[in-house]
């Protein structure tokens, strides 16, 4: 019998004899990974959405009066002096009115009683995509408010702030769930291995008397840990995928989720998660075996 065959046989025997405990551990690992991966998925999607929103951001500077063309050129130059500005667009009262009318479509008749000059002229400033920081956007808004004739600068400040706060909260949740994942895995897996060692103490004692090497005794427990890590995290990710598919199919489209284009976790990240869980579980079992067998 080769060493690998002997170790696999031992591992199979272990799993067979303690299958109930193994199943409970597997379920715990699956749920821990599912919970963590779920928050990670939301966080990554929120980050992506935030990135898209920042990419599409524009600051509208409302003006008292329309600017003469020569003044427009000077103002544009001043705006560009701030740097990080992609494009500057001057909107006259008429253009603003026509744009609103186009947005209203069939309901444009509500504008009939209003004059074409009821909307203020404005400057639309599009920052560069490199400006992804909310603080930098706020700085630009402050700068634009100092322009001559500017009455108000609008860029959805509160919304962006709330979104930023929500993303930060999600980040904390992801970190906390990651810590919980590590703790639950270490605790549950080492506890399972302790139970297995305890259940097999007599057999391990006999194996030692028969001259079994430390590797012969330890490796099956290490394999058990690896098995728990790989299958638990794999099944956890698979469960998350089906949950994701169900949510996107059921709630996708023009509703709330239509605002975002949801993406599943990238494959390399899933691989990393599974590898990390496998290492964590194998490490926990090794520590448990060393501690309880003193070998």
């Amino acid at each position: 019998m080769t060493r690998i065959a002997a170790i696999l046989q031992q591992t199979g025997r272990n799993l067979g004899r303690t299958w109930a405990t193994q199943v409970m551990t597997l379920i715990t690992v699956i749920f821990s990974v599912l919970l963590f991966a779920f928050f990670l998925l939301i966080h990554l999607n929120m980050l992506a959405a935030g990135q898209r929103l920042t990419n599409d951001i524009r600051l509208t500077v409302y003006l008292e009066d329309e600017l003469a063309p020569e003044l427009q050129a000077r103002i544009e130059q001043r705006i560009r002096e701030f740097g990080e500005v992609e494009r500057v667009l001057f909107i006259s009262r008429d253009q603003a009115f026509n744009r609103l009318a186009a947005q209203l479509g069939d309901e444009r008749d509500v504008l009939d009683d209003l004059g074409a000059d009821f909307l203020p002229p404005a400057i639309e400033v599009f920052p560069r995509r490199t400006m992804s920081d909310l603080a930098a956007v706020e700085q630009l808004a402050g700068y634009l408010a100092t322009l001559p004739g500017a009455t108000k600068v609008q860029y959805g400040r509160e919304w962006l702030q709330r979104f930023g706060a929500f993303t930060r909260l999600l980040q904390i949740i992801v970190l906390v769930s990651a810590a919980l994942l590590v703790l639950s895995m270490v605790f549950i897996v080492s506890y399972t291995i302790r139970l297995t060692v305890s259940a097999r103490r007599e057999e391990l004692e006999v194996l030692r008397l028969l001259g079994a090497s430390n590797a012969y005794i330890r490796t099956p427990f290490l394999m058990e840990g690896l098995f728990q890590g790989v299958f638990g995290s794999g099944l956890g990710c698979a469960a998350l995928f089906f949950l994701f598919e169900w949510i996107t199919t059921r709630f996708g489209g023009p509703g709330m989720l239509g605002l975002f284009s949801l993406e599943f976790l990238p494959l390399p990240l899933i691989g990393l998660l599974i590898a990390a869980c496998a290492l964590l579980c194998a490490g926990s079992s090794l520590v448990a075996v060393r501690k309880f067998l003193r070998i």
Binding site: M1, T2, R3, A5, A6, Q9, E202, E203, E205, V206, L207, R208, L209, L210, G211, A212, S213, N214, Y216, I295
Partner: protein, 242 residues
């Protein structure tokens, strides 16, 4: 590195003493050498120190004084890995069997062979051969917990002999056996000895050594003495009549 002089003996006990706390002397200044291919019977009353001596020879107990040398290696100086390798060459049939009750007779006997990474075919062949030799081939697939004490004892002996060890230690190997089964056990010892193994048997059973031409040693009050053929027979007679 061992500083013991080279010797042809497989087992050497040199001035061995064992004192249990507070001051119970189990063995006193005992020296013994056992050659490969030799069968040695160790007799004595209960509590004479037979089991203690066997345990020291397989390093389950450490001597209070003196040293045990097995296959040229001082056991007190062996590292864990070396001891593990040496244990694969020492078969021990314990008085309390130390079998795994929920495994079958076959699985129990196969364990030392699996530990030594033997091929499956060889394991099947060797286990079958041993179980047949000890008259329990029909119990091969039965769980040990369902076997009688005598059958369990034979499974324990088969396991001890499975790896064709250089040294076999048997503690009261026929305590639960009838005369016929005991004969099979003696046959097993003879076969092992013929193949070059040293066999040390701790026993009360006078029928084992009564007509034996092998060495018979007696432990009494912690001291070891060698019995001649006549004294061995006289001792056997006494043991049988007690």
């Amino acid at each position: 590195m061992s500083d013991t002089p080279p010797s042809s003996a497989l087992v050497e006990c040199i001035r061995l003493s064992k004192i249990y706390p507070p001051d119970v002397t189990a063995l006193k200044d005992i020296s013994l050498a056992v050659q490969p291919g030799e069968i040695v019977y160790l007799t004595g009353h209960s509590g004479a120190g037979k089991t203690t001596m066997l345990k020291m020879i397989c390093n389950l107990e450490t001597p209070s004084k003196g040293m045990v040398v097995v296959a040229g290696r001082d056991l007190s100086r062996l590292r864990a890995g070396e001891m593990q390798r040496l244990r694969q060459k020492i078969g021990v049939a314990y008085q309390d069997f130390r079998l795994l009750p929920r495994l079958t007779a076959f699985q129990n006997v196969a364990m030392p062979l699996e530990v030594a990474y033997q091929k499956r075919r060889l394991i099947r062949q060797r286990v079958r051969e041993l179980l047949e030799g000890l008259g329990i081939a029909d119990k091969s697939d039965q769980k040990v917990e369902n076997l009688s004490r005598g059958e369990q004892q034979r499974v324990a002996l088969a396991r001890a002999a499975a790896n064709s060890p250089s040294l076999l230690l048997a503690d009261e190997p026929t305590g639960n056996l009838d005369e016929g089964a005991a004969g099979l056990v003696v046959e097993l010892f003879k076969n092992l000895a013929a193949a070059g193994s040293a066999v040390i048997v701790a026993t009360h059973d006078a029928s084992l050594y009564r007509h034996s031409d092998h060495r018979v040693l007696k432990l009494a009050q912690g001291e070891l003495s060698e019995l001649t053929a006549n004294t061995a027979q006289a001792q056997a007679f006494r043991e049988e009549t007690v």
